[in-house]
C-alpha cells in the first residue's frame, strides 16, 4: 500500500497551520460580538408587543437560518459593494475579512437569538416579578436575576453555535480569506492532494484542542451559575 499514511506530514503541518489561527480568532471574535448584540436585539423584537417588530424579527431569523452560509457570503460579498456603489462609495478593495465578519455576524445573530429566546422563556415569570417588586428596574431585573438563570440554560447551545462559527472559516476560503482551514487546503493543494489525510487530521486535532478549551471554560461557567439549581435526578 506504500506510504499512505505518513506521520511526518502530520507533525510538519502544525507549525504551518497554527499561525493562521489568528485569522480564525479575529473573524470569530468580531462575528460573535456583533452577532450577540444583534441577536439580543432580535430576541427583544421577537418578544415585543408590536406585531410588526415580531414579524420583522421572525422573517430575518428565517432567512438567516435558511440561507446556506456560502450563498449568504456571496450575497454580502457582491451585494454590499453594489449597494454602496449607488452612493459612490467604492468597497471593492475592502479586505475580504470584513465581508466574512459581516456574513458570520448576521448569521450568528439569527441563530443565537433563538438560543437566547428559548433560554429566556425558560425562566419562570415569578422571578422577574419578584425582582421588580423589590424595586429593581426591568433592566436590573434582567441583568441580575433573569440573565444568570437564562445563561445557564443557554450555555450548551451557545457552545454549539460558537464552535460551529469557529469552523465556518472553511467558507472564508471561498472568497480567498486564508484562515486555518484555508491554510490546510492550500497545503493540500500544494501537495497536489497527496497526504491530505494527515494534514486534515492535524487540523482536526487543533480544532479538537480549541473545542476542549471552550468546553472547559463553559463548564466552569456552568458550574458557577448552577448555584442553587436542582437538576432532574432520577430517584
Amino acid at each position: 500500500m506504500g506510504k499512505y499514511f505518513d506521520a511526518s506530514y502530520l507533525w510538519n503541518a502544525f507549525p504551518q497551520l497554527l499561525p493562521f489561527l489568528k485569522v480564525t480568532f479575529i473573524v470569530t471574535l468580531f462575528a460573535v460580538i456583533f452577532g450577540l448584540i444583534l441577536g439580543w436585539l432580535l430576541t427583544m423584537a421577537k418578544l415585543s408587543r408590536y406585531r410588526s417588530l415580531r414579524f420583522l424579527a421572525s422573517t430575518y431569523i428565517t432567512i438567516m437560518r435558511c440561507t446556506p452560509s456560502i450563498v449568504l457570503l456571496f450575497l454580502i460579498y457582491y451585494g454590499v459593494p453594489l449597494i454602496f456603489e449607488n452612493f459612490h462609495i467604492n468597497l471593492h478593495d475592502l479586505h475580504s475579512a470584513y465581508f466574512v465578519i459581516i456574513t458570520f455576524a448576521l448569521q450568528f445573530a439569527g441563530i443565537i437569538s433563538e438560543v437566547i429566546r428559548s433560554a429566556y422563556l425558560s425562566v419562570p415569570t415569578g422571578q422577574y416579578e419578584a425582582a421588580v417588586s423589590v424595586g429593581l428596574t426591568p433592566f436590573q431585573a434582567y441583568k441580575r436575576i433573569i440573565f444568570p438563570q437564562a445563561l445557564l440554560v443557554a450555555l450548551p447551545n451557545l457552545g454549539n453555535s460558537l464552535i460551529a462559527l469557529l469552523q465556518e472559516g472553511a467558507l472564508a476560503y471561498t472568497i480567498g480569506l486564508i484562515d486555518i482551514v484555508g491554510k490546510a487546503q492550500l497545503m493540500v493543494a500544494a501537495n497536489i492532494n497527496a497526504h491530505a489525510l494527515e494534514i486534515f487530521i492535524a487540523l482536526a486535532i487543533i480544532y479538537w484542542g480549541l473545542s476542549l478549551l471552550i468546553d472547559k471554560i463553559f463548564s466552569l461557567l456552568e458550574k458557577s451559575l448552577n448555584k442553587g439549581k436542582k437538576s432532574l435526578k432520577m430517584t
Binding site: T62, I63, E114, N160, L197, L232
Partner: protein, 237 residues
C-alpha cells in the same frame, strides 16, 4: 448584473436543484431518527452523571462538535473503506467496499455530528424542568420511563424546540457537504449544471431559493409544533 443573466438556465436549474430535495430530506430524516434518541439518552447520562457514559459523551461532544464536518467526512470517507477492505479480505467476504452507496456514509457522518449537537440541546432543555415534576409523576405511580415520556419530555421539548429547529435546518444545509462524497443533493446538482456555461450566479441563486423554500417549510412546521406544545404556558411577551 453585467454578465447577462441567463434566465433560461436559471429556470431549468431551479428544477434540477429541486430534484435534489429528496436526497437532502432522506438524509435529514434518517439522521434525525438516529440522532434524536441517541442525543437524548446521552444527554440523560450527563445529567445523571452515569459513570463511564457521562465522561464518554462529554468527550464525544467535544470531538465531534469540535471538528469541522467536512474534515470528518474526509477522514471517514478515506479511512473507513481501507479498514473495511482489509477486514473483508481477511474474512473472505466478497463485497466491493467501494460500491457502498454514498448515502450510507452520509447517514453515518451526519448522525455523528448531529448527535453531538442534540446532546447539548437536550441537556440544556432538561435542566429547565423542575425536579418537582418528576417527583409528582413518581408519586402517582409512573415509572421513570413513563414520567419522562409523558411529563418531562413534553416540557423540555418546549424549551428545546427553537434549538432543535436550528439543528434541523443546519443539518439540511450541511447535507450540501455531501458533495465531498458525491451525494447527489441540491448544491451539487446545481453546480454540476452550472459548469458547462459557468452560470454560477444563476446556480447560486437557485440554491438560495431552494434552501429558503425547504427550510422555511421545516421552520414553519416546527413553529406550529412549538405553539402546540406550549399551550400550557402563559405568554410572557
Amino acid at each position: 448584473m453585467n454578465g447577462g443573466f441567463n434566465v433560461e438556465f436559471f429556470i431549468n436549474t431551479f428544477f434540477v436543484a429541486l430534484s435534489g430535495i429528496p436526497t437532502a430530506l432522506v438524509v435529514t430524516i434518517v439522521v434525525l431518527l438516529i440522532a434524536l434518541p441517541l442525543g437524548f439518552l446521552l444527554a440523560m447520562t450527563r445529567l445523571n452523571n452515569v459513570p463511564l457514559l457521562s465522561p464518554f459523551s462529554k468527550l464525544y461532544v467535544s470531538f465531534v462538535r469540535g471538528t469541522p464536518i467536512i474534515i470528518q467526512i474526509f477522514i471517514i470517507y478515506s479511512s473507513i473503506p481501507l479498514f473495511l477492505k482489509a477486514l473483508f479480505e481477511k474474512y473472505h467476504i466478497a463485497y466491493d467496499v467501494y460500491k457502498i452507496h454514498p448515502l450510507w456514509y452520509a447517514f453515518i457522518i451526519f448522525s455523528f455530528s448531529t448527535t453531538a449537537i442534540l446532546i447539548e440541546v437536550f441537556r440544556s432543555a432538561l435542566k429547565t424542568v423542575d425536579q418537582g415534576q418528576l417527583e409528582a409523576a413518581y408519586s402517582v405511580g409512573l415509572t421513570s420511563f413513563q414520567a419522562y415520556k409523558r411529563i418531562i419530555i413534553p416540557q423540555a421539548l418546549v424549551v428545546a424546540m427553537p434549538n432543535l429547529c436550528t439543528a434541523t435546518v443546519n443539518l439540511i444545509k450541511a447535507t450540501s457537504l455531501g458533495y465531498a462524497i458525491s451525494l447527489q443533493e441540491i448544491t451539487l446538482r446545481a453546480k454540476v449544471a452550472a459548469n458547462a456555461g459557468y452560470n454560477y450566479v444563476e446556480a447560486y441563486l437557485d440554491i438560495f431559493i431552494v434552501y429558503i423554500l425547504l427550510c422555511s417549510v421545516v421552520e414553519f412546521s416546527f413553529k406550529l409544533f412549538e405553539n402546540r406544545l406550549s399551550r400550557y404556558k402563559i405568554s410572557k411577551a
